[in-house]
Every structure is written in C-alpha cells, then in structure tokens.
C-alpha cells in the first residue's frame, strides 16, 4: 500500500510512528521476539506522550496468558494457538467476541493491534471502541476500512501487521505498520471498552488471528499533530494534482477527511475540467464529492464546466419512487370500486437517483427484497412508477434467468423464441444460433424438448441465450452466477466479453468481488431507499455495514455460540482506582 511516511515536524507521536514504520518494514510480526521488541517501542512512545498502560498483550504472550487464565474452552469459537495468538473462528450463524471492559473514561486512547487473516475472513472482523463510534475498523481479506466514513485502505492482510488507532479529542487516526493511513475528524468521546468481533457468515467458516493487543490511555497528546498532518497533506496533495490523478485526489480527501488546501483549489478545478474526454464511464459521483470539498464559487464553476463536457447519460434516474399494492387484484374488487374500502399500499422504492454514462458498469447491491430487481424493471418501463422520471437513451434489454422458455419446445425452438422476446430479428438469431449452441455444449441435445434437459443443461442454455445479445444498454438481474462450477470459468469469460460489447451495463448482483473489480460505480438499495451511490468501495463498505447491523449480538445472550470474555479489566496493569 503506497502511502507517504509522515516524518519530521510536529508531534512525537508521528516521529515515533515513523520509527516504527522503518523498523517494521519487512519484519515478520508473528514471532514473540519481534512482538516483544515492538512492545517496548510502543511503551516508550506511550510514556513519551504521558499515556498509561491499560493492557499490554505483546510481551511474552501476555495476552494469551491472560486469556488462558480466564479459562477459555477449546470448543468455543475463540481459542489459543500454540504460538500464543488468539484464534477467532466462526461457522454459519456464529459470532466470536473478545471484549476488554473497564477502560477508564479516557479522552485519549492508543490501541495497537497485531492481526493477520491468512484464512477467509470475508469482511467480517471488527475492532470497535465503546464510546468512540468514529473509530470502528472493519478488516477483510485485502483491505481495512474506517467504517464511519466508509474509507477503504487496500492492503494484503494475510501477513501479520500492526494496526494502530490513536483516538484524541480531534478525531481518530489509523496507522498501518506505522504509516498514517486514515483520519476522521470528530468531537471525540470517552473510550470505555474495546471489542474484537468476528461476525459469522451464512455459508463459510471464517477465522482471524490476533497476535497481540495493547491499550494505552491518557488525558491528552502533545499539540501539533493536526498541524503537522495538514502541512504534510498540502505537499502531498500538490503531488497528486501534478500527477493528474483525480481518483487519487478523491481517495486522499476521503482518507484524511480534509478539505482541499486553499492553494490547490484552482489547480484542482482545472484538473477536473480537463478530465473525462470519453470512454470508461463518467464518475459524476466523483465530481459531486470534489465539489462538496470546494468553496461555493469554485463549486459552481466546477459543476458548470462538468455539465458542459459530460455526454448525455444513457440512463438517468431522477427521484424515483415506486408504490405497490399488497393485493393489487382488490383494486378491481367490488369492495374497493363500490364500497371504497382503502387499499394497503407501500413504497417499494423511494429517493432513487443515479446516472449511467457510456462506458459505465453500475453495480446495484442490497439485501434480498431491497428493491433491486424492481429498480431494473422500472428503468425498463415494465412497472409503473409513482414519482420521478427515468430517461433511457438507446436500445435496452433486461436479462433475467428463464426468459420465455417453453418446456415442451426443443432447445432450438427455445433459442429462437427467447431471442424473439428479447427483441432480435429471426435473421439476427440465425447468425447467433451456432455460437449459442456451441457455448452451451448442447449440440447433440439441442433438438430434444427442453423438459428433458438436466438442471445443468437448462441453466447452460438459458445463460448462453441471455448472453448472446449485446444491446446498447444491458441490465442484468442476478445472471452472473449461472451454470455449474465447471461451466463457471467459461461463463465468467463470456460475461467479460458481453460487458465489453455493451455501452452501458446496470447489474444487480450479490457478488461483491464483481462490484469492486468491474464496476465503475455502485448503488446501494436498502429497504427500498438508496443509501449510497458512487465509489464502489464506499458503497460496498456501507452495504457491509447494513448487512452486519442485522447480525448484532446482544451482550449476555446467545452464550451457546458466542465466546465472550470480560475479565481483562480485572487483569489489567492499571493501578486500582482507575486512571489518574
């Protein structure tokens, strides 16, 4: 992960972290010796800042010893490894929680965590600080996210790394292996407990390793930290603008929760005006985000220049709302028409607005029943909308599994029929016929009635038909996982080819890797409302937040599948009577 090393000016904390960064470069943190040396440096750093130790779980496997004394049952989801690390594991519907209670109310806290994720952890490992919601971190295979502003840092989390969280009255600061990575401004608060949480996944076993944990608390840090960061930010910002990387500028602004340095505003506006000459989608969300960080007079200039240069959007959704009746047939019933009994209606979608430009691949994500498929159907004009406006410029097609298939017809007839329904002419279908049959690997069975096909054969044929067409605007409704495992590689390559041939793609999917790797922008729908639109990483982060909110485990309950330890406070090194 490329981030600048914050050296020099202002604040011993920064200097100390710089030292740690240089020490940790190339170091392996799994071993006791390395952790011990690190622990001593962290102790010195904390003392220099006037912080007192609450828990030092680095030295000589202290953490492991503490937890062993707490009587951890090997059958529970949290166990000790022979190396002294905490190994959190979960199966479906399980949660693993390690809680450190009793942190004295502290306006300043420094939390250092050594963790690694050599196995699958999805995006399900959380570090939370009670009293400081601005400090919640989410760990995944490949990233760490500051949850509060959905700011994602991409990194390899398989090897052990040091994650340092400094909480002050100005906000939260995240360092990874000593390098400042994220900052979030907030009013601060009192940290009173720390929670490590691994949220179970419905279809996978997850695991995380905690090699060491240290918590230091105090009343203040030395002054100058924010000033040092600001001056460094200005210099780095200039480099980014000179490089012409607008996405990196945006990433920096989000990572450090800062405004555009005054001296760089004009150059940023000029850079933005020169962007997006064609192809590869149009990140209008990026422009809106940048505009938010500018003073009003520059904001309007940027917006009008932007509007002039942008091509017309291929799909434009404005303030969309869709209302359904729970029993639509009753609208024509005697009780409603004559007796005027009211009908029960509900909003399936509301406040949805986004744009897709030529070159865009838009991922629509959300939980089941959120309204994603309804959104695609509304864009296609297949369902009535209650408010708003949708403009579609170009031939569009909504693909979903099983389109128009007739069981009694042969595979060949179904190919022609399905293509008819999708808007192709018969001559177009004849040209595509051989390719469809070859791809589906059904050459010998193509004349048999569809009802005699196996499930695998059916899904191969349906997928092959659906992906043979490349309209200008393609909408896919969860078509990405068709076919059996052996067919998947071919299907993936075919999807890639389809995406390249199409001008605009709007895809409803549950595949987070697809959204992160392929999509130029994303939309999050939850309970019919648009919660996020824009950067795929940010939208996915917010999606995971919503997902895991449903899996919150109340403390004291569900003890059969949750390992909870609240004994660390009693075992801490803090003098009795609390912090002084």
């Amino acid at each position: 992960m490329a981030q600048p090393v914050m050296t020099g000016q202002g604040g011993t904390w920064l200097c100390a972290m710089d030292e740690i960064a240089s020490v940790l470069e190339g170091a392996v943190l799994d071993g006791l010796a390395a952790r011990s040396r690190l622990a001593r440096r962290l102790e010195r750093q904390a003392q220099a800042e006037g912080l007192r130790v609450f828990c030092n779980g680095f030295e000589d496997a202290t953490l492991a010893r503490l937890l062993a004394e707490a009587g951890i049952d090997a059958a529970k989801p949290v166990v000790l490894t022979t190396g002294g690390a905490l190994h959190l594991t979960t199966g479906p519907e399980e949660h693993a929680i390690v809680r450190f209670d009793g942190i004295p109310d502290a306006p300043v806290a420094a939390i250092h965590l050594i963790a690694s994720f050599p196995s699958n952890v999805e995006s399900n490992f959380y570090l939370e600080v009670t009293g400081r919601e601005d400090a919640t971190l989410r760990f995944a295979n490949g990233s760490v996210t500051l949850v509060n502003n959905a700011s994602v840092a991409r990194m390899d989390t398989e090897p052990a790394a040091l994650f340092s969280l400094l909480l002050t009255g100005q906000g939260a600061y995240l360092f990874v292996n000593g390098v400042l990575t994220k900052r979030y401004h907030s009013e601060g608060g009192q940290a009173s407990a720390l929670v490590l949480r691994l949220v179970g996944h419905e279809s996978a076993d997850l695991s995380a390793l905690v090699h060491g944990l240290g918590i230091w608390v105090g009343s203040r840090v030395r002054s100058g930290l924010d000033d040092a960061l600001t001056s460094r930010a200005t210099a780095y910002f200039d480099d980014l603008i000179a490089a012409g990387d607008l996405a990196a500028v945006h990433s920096w602004l989000r990572s450090f929760d800062t405004e555009v340095p005054p001296g760089a505003i004009s150059r940023l506006v000029e850079l933005a005006e020169a962007q997006f000459q064609g192809g590869g989608g149009v990140p209008d969300w990026l422009m809106n985000e940048l505009a938010r960080n500018l003073p009003p007079e520059h904001r309007e200039r940027l917006r009008s220049a932007w509007e002039d240069r942008m091509p017309p959007p291929s799909v434009e959704v404005e303030d969309l709302a869709v209302r359904f009746y729970r029993q639509p047939n009753r609208r024509l019933a005697f009780s409603h028409l004559v007796l005027r009994k009211p009908l029960d209606a509900f909003l399936v979608l509301r406040d949805v607005a986004f744009r897709a430009y030529p070159g865009d691949i838009v991922g629509v994500i959300g939980a089941n029943g959120a309204g994603k498929s309804t959104l695609l159907r509304a864009i296609s004009g297949l369902i009535p909308i209650s408010a708003g406006r949708i403009t579609v410029r170009g031939r569009h097609l909504l693909l979903s599994p099983g389109l128009g298939i007739r069981n009694e017809l042969s595979g060949k007839d179904n190919i022609f029929l399905a293509c008819c329904f999708m808007g192709l002419t018969l001559s177009d279908t004849r040209e595509l016929y051989d390719e469809i049959v070859d791809f589906s690997e059904l050459t010998e069975s193509i004349d048999q009635p569809f009802k005699y096909y196996s499930d695998g054969m059916k899904s191969r044929l349906i997928f092959s038909i659906a992906t043979a067409v490349a309209p200008e605007i393609l909408m896919l409704d969860e078509l990405l996982n068709a076919g059996d495992i052996r067919f998947q590689k071919k299907a993936t390559e075919r999807m890639d080819g389809l995406l390249e041939r199409t001008k605009v793609v709007v895809v409803v999917t549950h595949s987070i890797p697809f959204v992160l790797e392929k999509c130029t922008k994303a939309v999050l729908i939850n309970n019919g409302r648009q919660l996020a639109y824009g950067d795929p990483e940010e939208v996915v982060s917010r999606y995971l937040e919503e997902l895991h909110l449903d899996k919150e485990v109340g403390m004291g309950g569900e003890t059969d599948n949750v390992a909870t330890m609240q004994q660390i406070a009693q075992q801490s090194f803090l003098p009795s009577g609390g912090f002084s």
Binding site: G381, L382, P384, I385, T391, R393, F416, T425
Partner: protein, 279 residues
C-alpha cells in the same frame, strides 16, 4: 437500424421517440416474421406434436355440425335435409374461428406473463400471433370443408372471390373484441368464464343453426344489429348458393370495427404499463 431511441418513463407511462419511416417499416417486417415463427411453434406444440392434434382439428367442425344437426333437426323435430346440415356446417366452421379467438383472448397475456414482466416484447404481437394462429386453424378447416362440400355438389365457384372479403370483415370485427378482452383479462382473472357464457349465448342469437328468415319481422331490426346476422349468411351465400353476398353491411361492420380497434389499441397501450402487478 441505428437511430437512437429514447424512452422516458414517468408516472403517466412510457413515451418513446418516434422512429423514422424506414425504421418503422423494418420493425414491422421484423415483427411479422416473429409472429410467423411463433404461430409455427404454437401449431407444433398444440397440434402437430399431439397424437390426435391434426385429426381433431380437421374433423372437429364436422363433429360439431353433426351434433347441432341432430339436436335441432332430429331431436327437436325440425325435419332433416342435406341443405340444413351444410347450412349449419358452414356456419360452425366460421363461428369456431370467432369463438376460439375470442374465448382465449382474456387469458392471452397471462400465458405470456413471464415474457411481459421481463421484456418490452410488443403486446400487439402477442394478440396478432393469437389471431394468426386461429386464422391458420380456420384455413385447415376450410381444407376439409371445401372438398366436403364439393363431394355433395356444392362446388367452388366465382363467388369464392368474395370469401376473403367476408373473412376480412369478420377479422376486423374480432380485432377490437380480442384486444379489449385481452386487455381486460390481464386485470380480471375470471373474465374468461364470463366470455365463454356470453359467446355461447351470442351463437344462439346468431343465424348459426337456423336461418335469418326464422326471426319475426318486427324483431329483425334488432336482430340485424348483430354483425353475424350478416356475416354468417354471407358465407352460406358464397359457398352454398354460389352467389356474391351483399357487401355493404360487411363494409360497415369492418369500418366500425376498425375505428373501435384504434380505441382498443390505445387502451391496451395505456394498460400495458400496469400489467406487472396483475400478471
């Protein structure tokens, strides 16, 4: 067809920018070829691939005519004659075209529910496919009827030139009815049962199993408001008497029906937008 098409979806419905003339013509040709293909597959599914399919299709009119003949002429004692039987047979062939087209109209869009809920496949093509299918069936019936009539000395003659005109008039009559019932049937699921009953009554109010001259003169003016009071006798005039029928009432029927069809089309276009919740 490279013309950019723009769709605008609002709470009022879907508007589409107009195609140019060439684009419209190409679209029409494409739809006609698709309708042709759909009719072929439907024939294959419903008739050719069934054991008794074709056999039943060809002989069913004869069987129906025989039933009506026995009922009215033998059991009810109106007297038997070859002419009466063929009067009924000819009427039944063309009435079956009408009642099969109309009886199945209300359930038409439900049968294509998955297609209509996932694509913008033109609803008119679905209706036209249905009408074309039933027209094909009546052509099969004619393939049996004409030789059958010939065997009993009712030979084809120059009056057969008027047969397409009468059939066109009947087609125009069926068009607005089929469009309206198909539209209504998407919303009212039990409409099909009502249609069965109404069409059945309509048959008995039409000169199918009896001649028009059985109607008392003072009721004729009402009776003649029924289009089939002119259409069915026209078929008999051509095929059994070898004469040209009076084309004026048929032209009036066609013109009025076409005007109604325009209205029914507009109704369908507006209703299509609301199909999703009902299909």
């Amino acid at each position: 067809m490279n013309q950019l098409i723009t769709y605008i979806v609002t709470p009022s419905g879907v508007q589409q920018t107009a195609r140019n003339l060439q684009g419209s013509w190409q679209a029409l040709r494409s739809e006609l070829s698709k309708i042709h293909y759909i009719v072929q597959t439907e024939l294959r599914v419903k008739i050719y691939d069934k054991t008794l399919g074709l056999f039943f299709l060809l002989l069913e009119p004869i069987l129906m005519a025989t039933v009506y003949y026995v009922l009215t002429m033998v059991l009810l004692g109106s007297g038997t004659s070859k002419a009466t039987f063929f009067n009924i047979y000819v009427a039944v062939v063309f009435w079956r075209w009408f009642n099969r087209t109309i009886d199945n109209a209300p359930g038409l869009f439900s049968g294509y529910g998955s297609v209509l809920k996932q694509t913008n496949y033109p609803v008119y093509s679905i209706v036209m496919s249905h009408i074309a299918l039933e027209f094909t069936n009546v052509c099969f019936a004619l393939v049996v009827l004409v030789p059958f009539l010939s065997a009993f000395h009712y030979l084809p003659n120059y009056a057969y030139l008027a047969l397409p005109i009468v059939m066109l008039s009947q087609f125009c009559l069926m068009l607005p009815i089929a469009l309206s019932l198909a539209t209504a049937g998407a919303f009212v699921k039990d409409l099909q049962g009502v249609v069965y009953a109404v069409v059945g009554i309509w048959f008995y109010l039409s000169p199918g199993i009896y001649p028009v001259d059985r109607i008392p003169e003072r009721y004729l003016w009402i009776y003649n408001l029924n289009p089939f009071a002119h259409i069915l006798p026209a078929y008999r005039t051509i095929m059994l008497r070898g004469e040209f029928p009076d084309l004026l009432p048929l032209a009036v029927i066609a013109l009025i029906s076409l005007a109604l069809a325009v209205g029914a089309s507009r109704l369908l276009a507006r209703a299509r937008y609301h199909f999703f919740s009902y299909l």
